[in-house]
Assembly symmetry: C2
Homo-oligomer: 384 residues x 2
């Protein structure tokens, strides 16, 4: 099977929008073993008419699509004009796909000779679930192969190191093993293709065991989809232990807490915290003695520890984490260059700080600090 | 002038790489008034040969390009093979472009009839400076026009309303006026094209005045580039007034504070704040009386006001904002559906709450809550 992606939108040609849809679809097609030779972006908006032309059929108002559009407008409390009904026009033999996040339904339109044109809405939050829920199962049925993937998530080992430990495994063709990188994290996708799910899983098993052996404890999750995240694992580990947590943030300004509360189910685990951006708020809110700050500098292990311990005590939680450091671009000194960060961790068993020497811009230094703090929560919750 | 972008790379077709180059080039072309009708991505690597074919000329080893490649390998301490010299092969009349960040030079290759093929390297940190430093000046000379743009940023009016108030102005061709939407915000770009910058500015002026008249105070910034943001304006307005601020966040979990501290120069303005995710932390940290929470519900104007006022007093700031609400997906009731949010605002002059009825998913409800809170900071700082 061969696919081609055609993206339509003047905003792409003008550069106002980054084409994340093309990457999303390409990744999923690639996982399904479907090749692409060509992608295009065009500016006009005649795609439905064009597909009708290719299919040699007229567009008709499809009642199921009309119902979807009407229902959507009703729920949004917006008035629908007759013009909006053009979103419900498709060829008679096309399969209409529901769009729970927007008004425009999608469609799979047969265009002869085993070919089809698949229409998807533009906004990623509409396109992505429609693709995953409706288009992928349809493609999988037609390709006659079952693909089974596992996502191996790694924190605490760089891409180069992962590559060098697994390079021979990455050369395989079935199962395949491919690395993807996010800031500070590496994800591996292992995929096997076979006639049945059981066969595909059997192919995957020895590879998974080998990866585990070679990487060890830096693997924080092995999952069936790529929706996993460090914060999900941390919240799950804290929840499993019956622990509550709190945060005290300087350079991250609230981002550790905001990342944790993004996990659904976090409300029983995440109690709250402090944003202690200006130096004296570390004393006022978290109770770090002013002398400790003066003696050791505000960016120090001692202050990070004081922030974590004070927060744990004041919020009455099982564990608190803190972060203090220099996100840059200004403020660095030879002794404490930009990227110097201390993550503090405090539990009933004791308090310590993790010194970090991070590189990159302000955003990257913040993001990495958040991940290290969240990983510390996870590791502590898993400790025997 | 019309341009077309052709991106070459199997990593784009496989979805491993996000095509940020296409967006970068599109933006710059659009700023130069150069239109695009089509963009493509292909997987092979024969572009230089193709361009030579189009130009009807043979590829030759260009000494200046060879010197660049050799010098680059020397500096990297890598050994160069004769094969690497293929990077220095271009048609005799092409202009070779230096690549200070990589080994492969770029080139502007005339292909007849006033047309040219421009070769650029793939890595963004090589492509972007090469485009800005070498390609843009060349394109500007050839287009013979100067473009002047203004970016008008709007918060507090939906796209449909902006469209309906300005639809006649959006039909103009010089100056043009085009809307772009982000979550909860609308941006308008006004662009005029003329033989000189002064003439272009003169064309823009009446349009800018008309837009101001029709939209009024929802315009929060008019800027020469599109790097503006609500948080930048809020921090600037607070700074100009000599005010400090603090936050108290429930559903946003620290994201208001984290968004504010992303603005460089925020450290003199943003003092810190509380993350009060679990109900009783609103009492413990921000001092909201437990009876107020019990009587009015944790998602209420009274609790939002209590959070803001308590935070302002405890942190000793000029202004504090708070947010309490339901981000969903669960937890909604007929009386308080998902999307019910209260933003509290407290200054020495008084305390009030802004009730919001937001729609969308968890992320959108959080993002909009953050923007409303930050806009409230800005509006208060600007009040006489």
């Amino acid at each position: 099977m061969i696919a081609e992606i055609l993206c339509i939108g003047t905003e792409l040609l003008m550069g106002q929008t980054l084409n994340t849809n093309a990457q999303f679809i390409s990744r999923r097609l690639s996982a399904l073993g479907i090749s692409q030779y060509h992608q295009s972006v065009v500016g006009d908006n005649e795609e439905r008419l064009e597909a009708a032309k290719v299919a040699g059929q007229a567009l008709v108002l499809r009642p199921e699509a009309e119902a979807m559009v009407r229902e959507r407008f009703r729920r949004l409390g917006r008035t629908m004009t007759e013009n909006n009904l053009s979103q419900a026009m498709f060829t008679p033999d096309s399969t209409v796909l529901e769009n729970p996040w927007g008004t425009a339904p999608g469609a799979i339109v047969p265009v002869g000779e085993g070919k089809a044109v698949i229409h998807l809405p533009g906004p990623p939050r509409e396109l992505e679930p429609m693709f995953t829920e409706h288009v992928e199962p349809w493609l999988q049925t037609r390709s006659g192969r079952v693909l089974v993937s596992r996502y191996i998530r790694i924190f605490g080992m760089g891409e180069a190191e992962v590559d060098s430990r697994l390079s021979d495994l990455m050369e395989g063709s079935n199962p395949t093993l491919s690395p993807y990188c996010a800031t500070g994290e590496v994800m591996l996708r292992a995929t096997a293709s076979a006639a049945s799910e059981a066969e595909a899983q059997e192919l995957l098993l020895p590879l998974m065991i080998e990866v585990r052996l070679r990487l060890g404890s830096v693997i924080y999750a092995v999952e069936e989809d790529d929706g996993g995240s460090l914060e999900k694992c941390a919240v799950a580990a804290l929840g499993a232990r019956g622990w509550t947590c709190a945060t005290c943030e300087s350079l991250t300004g609230g981002l550790i807490a905001a990342t944790l509360v993004n996990v659904s189910g976090s409300s029983s685990v995440v109690r709250g915290g402090f944003v202690t951006y200006q130096t004296d708020t570390k004393t006022l809110l978290a109770g770090v003695p002013a002398e400790v700050i003066e003696e050791h500098n505000v960016v120090s292990a001692e202050v990070a520890m004081g922030m974590a311990q004070g927060t744990r005590e004041r919020l009455g939680v099982d564990i608190a984490v803190s972060a203090t450091g220099l996100a840059g671009p200004g403020g660095g000194t030879p002794e404490r260059p930009v990227g110097t960060v201390f993550v503090g961790v405090s539990t009933a068993k004791g308090t310590y700080a993790i010194p970090l020497h991070l590189t990159g811009d302000r955003l990257r230094i913040r993001t990495l600090s958040v991940k290290h703090a969240i990983n510390a929560l996870r590791m502590e919750a898993l400790k025997k």
